[in-house]
Structure formats: C-alpha cells, structure tokens
Symmetry: C2
Subunit: 228 residues, 2 copies
C-alpha cells in the first residue's frame, strides 16, 4: 500500500524514534551493517512487533528474511524526524542552567545549535557565556526573526517562566523546551516538552512505595503461609 499523502506517525511511535536512532548510531559506530527487529527490540527494551510497526510508519525499508540496513534506516529516521536540517535554539534565562546550556557544545553537532541567550536582568545582559553574549529579552523578536530560531528553552525562575513563554510565542517560536516546574499556558499550535526532575523523582517515588507495600504484603502472606 503506497501512501503518497502526508504520513502522520502516531505520537507514541514518534517518541520512540529518537531512541531507535540513538541505538542505530551506536550500531553504526561499531560497524554493524544490518539488524533485525528482534535485535533492535532487545536493545531498546521493547518488543519486536512494536519495532516493526514503528519502522513501518517510515515506509517499507526492511528486507523480508534479512532485516534492515543500519545506515539506510538511520537516514530514514533522521529524515522523518526532521533532522536533515538544523533547528536553532534560543535560551531564555541566563542563570546556572541557561548558561550551562549555552556553553555546552553537545547540541550543535546534533543539529540544535544554541544561537542566542536572553535575560531581563540588566546585570546579566551583555555578559559572555561561552561564545554568546546575553541579550536583552526585549530583542527576542528580532533575534528569533534574524537567526531563524524555532525552538525556545525556558531556564528562568518558576515565577518568570510564563512571561518567558509569552515572549517566545510573541516572537514567533513554535516549540518550547521548558525546564521550569510549572505548566505553561500556551496555544495548542505550539509544542512543549517539559523537563522537570521533581516530577520524575515523584513518579519514581510512587513506584518505590508500591514496591515496599507489595513486599510488605508478600512477607505478611509468607507469615500466613507458615502459621503457628
């Protein structure tokens, strides 16, 4: 079945493609040329049917009886994820985290160069952080237009995060990576990914507690199983 119209990949699959890509890059680095859905599934910690379904959304790029080619699949995933071009990032909030992101050289080689960092604190504006100078947040719109920025990272304090988001949206940004522990009010036309360690820890905490309660009831069960 050929589908020449726009393919829409289910969100759940989109979230897994970067993980597959990571693994395939590793396989490529270790000179592995081919892989089967079983192998990738084992490395990704999912099951093989899921891998095949996910990869099938890209097109029919496998060979029955043989498997998939590493380099070819890397290319296809990169194409589908929009990684054949660069996406410029602007950081809002020149605190510890913001400056760390601006200095960190790890994003540019992966296609996400940080091209600007802004703040509203006059003391910070003009200071250098890595190769960048902190700009006034009031220049955000111009900066976004001139440097064709599409992604904004919010690294402000919690209290400033919503106005940072407003400024980014006003400036024409359509994707936000939010590090502030707050739910941003944004139009549905803008994508947001939240990175909140507090939330992650609390989720872990829930499963920790479940484990403890489960083992409690198990040991109770055990003592029931060996009655006096």
């Amino acid at each position: 079945m050929t589908h020449s119209q726009r393919r829409r990949i289910p969100d759940a699959a989109v979230a897994r493609l970067p993980v597959y890509l990571q693994i395939l890059n590793n396989l490529h680095a270790t000179n592995v040329a081919r892989f089967s859905s079983d192998e990738l599934a084992a490395l990704a910690g999912v099951n093989a049917a899921k891998v095949r379904k996910d990869l099938s959304y890209l097109g029919s790029y496998g060979t029955r009886g043989v498997g998939y080619e590493v380099t070819y699949l890397i290319h296809q995933i990169r194409r589908e994820l929009g990684l054949m071009r660069e996406w410029n990032v602007v950081v809002v909030g020149a605190g510890n985290l913001g400056c760390a992101l601006a200095k960190f050289g790890g994003f540019a080689p992966r296609g996400f160069p940080v091209v600007g960092i802004v703040d509203n604190d006059p003391k910070k504006i003009g200071q250098s952080t890595g190769a960048l100078k902190v700009s006034d947040v009031r220049n955000l719109q111009k900066l976004v237009k001139d440097l064709e920025v599409t992604i904004g990272a919010i690294t402000t304090s919690t209290s400033a995060a919503q106005s940072a988001a407003d400024a980014l949206i006003e400036a024409g940004i359509t994707s936000i990576l939010n590090f502030a522990p707050i739910v941003l009010a944004i139009p549905s036309s803008v994508s947001v990914r939240n990175v909140d360690l507090g939330v992650e820890l609390q989720i872990l905490s829930y499963y920790e507690q479940m484990r403890i309660e489960q083992s409690d009831s198990k040991s109770q069960q055990k003592s029931n199983a060996v009655p006096v």
Copy 2:
C-alpha cells in the same frame, strides 16, 4: 464502591499526579482553599473529566456540588505518591552535571536529599562538591545500605552509564534516574526514568517539520484556491 485492597493507579495517571500537586501547592500558596475539576483542568492543560478520573483513583475526596479542598487533596496526593517520607538519592558520576545535582539544594526540601556522590576516577574521589565528598564507586554498596538509598542518578559519560547502572542494581537500588543518552539494560524489577534533552529536541524537531510541511501544503492549497 469501596476497594480496600491495594489500589493500582494507571501509569498515565501517576505521571499526572505530580503536576496536579505542583499546581495545588501554588493554589495553597496563594490562599485558595477550594477548587473544582474544571479549574484544575484549566491550570493543568487537560480536560475536566480526566482530572476527576485521576483524582478518583485516590478515593472519593471531593464534595458534589462544591469541589475539592486544596490542603486535603495535597495531603492525599502526597500520600499516594509516597511523599510522606524522604527518599535518599545517590549520584553516580562526579562530572559537571553530577556535581551540580549534588550542590543543588532544591531536592532535599522536596523530599529527595542527595546523600552521596561516587565516581571511579581517583582524581575525583575525595574532592568536595557542596556538602558531600566524592566516594569511590566501590563503596557504593556500603553507602546504599548504610544511608538507606533507594534512588540512583546516573550522570556518567554514555560509555560508563551501563556499568554505573549495573553497580547501582548490584548495590540494591530499585529506582534509576538516567541522564545518559542510552537505553539501559536493567531488570524489570527496577524503575527507570530517562532525562535526555537530545530525545526531547528531536521530538520537537518532528513536530516543527510537520508544521512546516502542513503550512507548505496549505499555501499550495491557497494558491490553488486562487488560480491564475
């Protein structure tokens, strides 16, 4: 319907409870005493039915015709998430991120004190970072036992991450917060949350590209709609 046996909350709901808790803490700080599912839904960016279903997993703690009480609900969510006690955290990898986590005082007050940091680099062992001294990773098991640590944060290089995970599991850790861009091989009895900015950016990239392609076809559509 009363269910006295162990309640198991769906994973999707568990992931939202910390977000609700965040919002309720804010409401509490601004002296709001009550809220309706509609209000919380608006603040959390979800719909009201989902809020009610999620909260109903905690028990029937609302009042029909009135709503929910902020402080009471905070208490119930905290109880359910296992936040009535502290969960000690150990950091593996005393690099930039690891030291930042150890120094950062933001976790202890939220119930997740970082009680240790380890590395395998002799140059780093013994150095101070915040209130902690970097320990030898070989002391991990003793550290985990003595300080009753349940959560391990992996902040090593990618290449060292799997052995860090192995060491944590060997030491008896049951929850891992992984910052390395790699899928860890771990037993299913251990919970893992991955924090990978590369993955987040690539997901945003996909939706950015979709937006562009959509607007391309729209403008094409537009030019079709106004033919020469």
